[in-house]
Symmetry: C2
Subunit: 287 residues, 2 copies
């Protein structure tokens, strides 16, 4: 039914695309202005808890499994033997948890600039932080761009950019210069993955530019994988993978099929299907 | 940004799931009370024209290709040689247009109860109705349930139920008794496909029940295919296929790959990928 939404709803308006998504809320659980961003947590009626940063929906209990599985597992199953993993952003720790499901991973460092996000996740999204005590996990609260600058050449297997949108604190994570530095710290055969916005809204803009910038930064192969994400603008989202001396259009399908992980969305068949882009995206990318 | 939405937005509130989706509108183009439903058309800011029935978003110019391709092509490429096709509902004619892309199809009959929908499509969504003059197309404005009742046994190759939600005029299209009649009029090797709501919202309810009802109605195989649909509740939608003496979990992949249709979303790889359900859906279906 068409009716105005009152203050019992949280609404994210996506002005540039003239759309908005709303969740009915029972109460606001947290409202903090950190040094970096405005952080809110709401209890919703049907999506569990909801985290919001600077007015943008970050995640809900109900559907975060889609994003977290799709930013972690395609990259991990594309790398031939991922042992050293770095996450830039990802303060809610949901990506970290997915990465740690891979038994071959020896160390994961998560670098988020804002400790308040992780504190809020521990308190209001305990399922996401349940692997934080894993001895392979290292949580740093620092500037991810600076951390990448100071990392050794060819020292990382998989680099995950689990950032907010390319405005505000995360703007620097979408620049060619940063992508070149990411390329530098990856080992040969290394895989980078970045959240890359909506296939419907951004195929001809942000995603297309990210793919070109990745290639300009020296990556040999690029693959954009679309997946559903109901609480993000358009309900449809993507990650873009880039390979250093490797082909991110192929992956360890057999290993993925034999994995004993209890996932909710990712399957090797979905991964294979996502690797073939819808024609409208191919046209937008000019590939 | 979180802010109340004023009257410059069209909002569909999905009360049972505590979510809402809104599009910024420039003007209302049509407001008609037909004998069956309340029909509105809006000009939106970024999604082109928007059709609304009884307050529920039916389609927009911008993203209807997803739904129309996915309700038509998986079913048509699953049937071994589809020649006689029937569409129940589908008054906007977008499904008809997709079906007519298949050169082997000899006749398509579309039966929608509400002629006002087709009139509005011709006026405000001309791209969808551009195949209506195809000599293979027959448009009837009548009760689809009654039409199915009166159709000959084993006379149809592909039966497409392109209905509104299972409330209001379309309620009868989601009942076991109707599915039995659908089974009766399909030839051996026949394929039925029905729009089946949101994977996130309805896997454990409407979709699960539809699948069981299809099996109870005599169908040998059932397959639910999820796909993105930004303007429908949750931004994620599904169709469910059922086969009479055939396996809808397989399809003419080679024919789909060699097809010269200029589609925007459907690919045989996406079809193959969608046939493997996300684990959370398999769990909900108990398969």
């Amino acid at each position: 039914m068409n009716r105005p939404l009152d203050e019992t709803w949280f609404t994210e308006v996506f002005d540039s695309q003239g759309s908005a998504f709303s969740l009915k809320v029972n109460e606001k659980l947290l409202d903090v202005q950190s040094p970096y961003q405005h952080l809110e947590v709401y209890a919703t009626q049907t999506f569990g808890n909801l985290m919001v940063l600077d007015g943008c929906v970050m995640l809900t209990d109900r559907d975060n499994f889609l994003y977290h599985e799709m930013i972690a597992h395609p990259a991990l199953f594309t790398h031939q033997n991922p042992r050293r993993v770095v996450i830039i952003g990802g303060g809610d720790c949901g990506t970290l948890k997915e990465v740690l499901r891979h038994p071959g991973v020896e160390k994961v460092t998560q670098i988020d600039i804002d400790e308040e996000v992780t504190k809020a996740a521990e308190r209001f999204f305990p399922a996401l932080t349940e692997s934080n005590d894993d001895p392979r996990a290292e949580l740093l609260f620092a500037d991810g761009v600076k951390w990448v600058d100071e990392a050794d050449d060819a020292s990382i297997d998989v680099l995950i950019i689990d950032s907010t949108d390319p405005v505000g604190p995360a703007e620097g994570l979408f620049k060619t210069d940063f992508l070149k530095r990411c390329h530098r710290i990856l080992k040969p055969g290394g895989v980078m993955v970045q959240q890359s916005e909506s296939p419907l809204y951004h195929s001809g803009s942000i995603i297309r530019e990210l793919r070109r910038d990745m290639q300009a930064a020296g990556f040999d192969s690029v693959a954009t994988l679309p997946f559903p994400q109901p609480v993000y603008p358009s309900g449809w989202w993507s990650v873009t993978l880039a390979g250093k001396d490797c082909d991110v259009c192929d992956f360890r399908e057999q290993a993925a099929a034999e994995s004993a992980m209890a996932l909710l969305y990712y399957t090797p068949e979905a991964h294979r299907g996502a690797l073939t882009l819808p024609p409208f995206m191919r046209q937008a990318f000019d590939v």
